[in-house]
Amino acid sequence: MAERTASYKQSLGSWTTLDIVIVAVIGVVFGFLNSPFGLIYQSFQAAFGAIGANIFGVFNISPVLAMFIVRKPGAALVCMLINGLVQMLSGNPAGAITLGWGVTQGLGAEIIFWAVRYQHFDWKVMFLAGAWANVFSNFWTYGVYGFGGQSIQILVAGTVIGFFTYGVLSGLVALAIGKALQTSGVLRSFASGQRT
């Protein structure tokens, strides 16, 4: 039993080439997707401030999906760092602000998967990962967009709304994509193909 635990812990630390490639690909693909989504985000944000910034919750699909597939420490953070860089380079209207989102959203998702020891990927964990990534990133968003002048009630309401929109539109959507990929059998080479 101790050997199994040691072997499991060893497998957590060892990234395969496939793991690295798939995390990078997900980061790049969703980075390109997030740039046009950024236009929609900016519209909501400009119209409704801190609450509008939390309505369109699709930006955290990639770190949650990458972790669902690879199941190795750092997958969510690395994926989101790549995502943020690609968003900046591919013309997201937010510009270099996306780098801050890369760090904060990646860390927010990562901390949830770390808390469950990279072993559990049910809908509650996936929802929380997408949601908490947004809660974490709100510190960056509220700061750089100068929402400090708004009331505490609005800032808290925005965070609570974002918790649910990102939980569903990022966490649960990533779970649906991951489950569909699992069913299709293309994840056989990854940890997610061996454990449900």
């Binding site: 199994r4 072993q119 559990h120 964990v125 908490w132 974490f136 510190f139 100068g146």
Partner: protein
């Protein structure tokens, strides 16, 4: 880049609340999602 936050005390009250919530969440997740590596294989 002008970074401002809602309270007069600035960033730290928000950061403190967030850190406390995160610690509670992590403890709750650790409690409700036990380590299954010893039983898997």
């Amino acid at each position: 880049m002008n970074i401002t936050f809602a309270t007069d005390a600035g960033y730290w009250p928000w950061a403190a609340i967030f850190v406390v919530l995160t610690v509670i969440l992590v403890f709750a997740l650790r409690r409700f999602y036990p380590d299954t590596s010893e039983h898997s294989g």
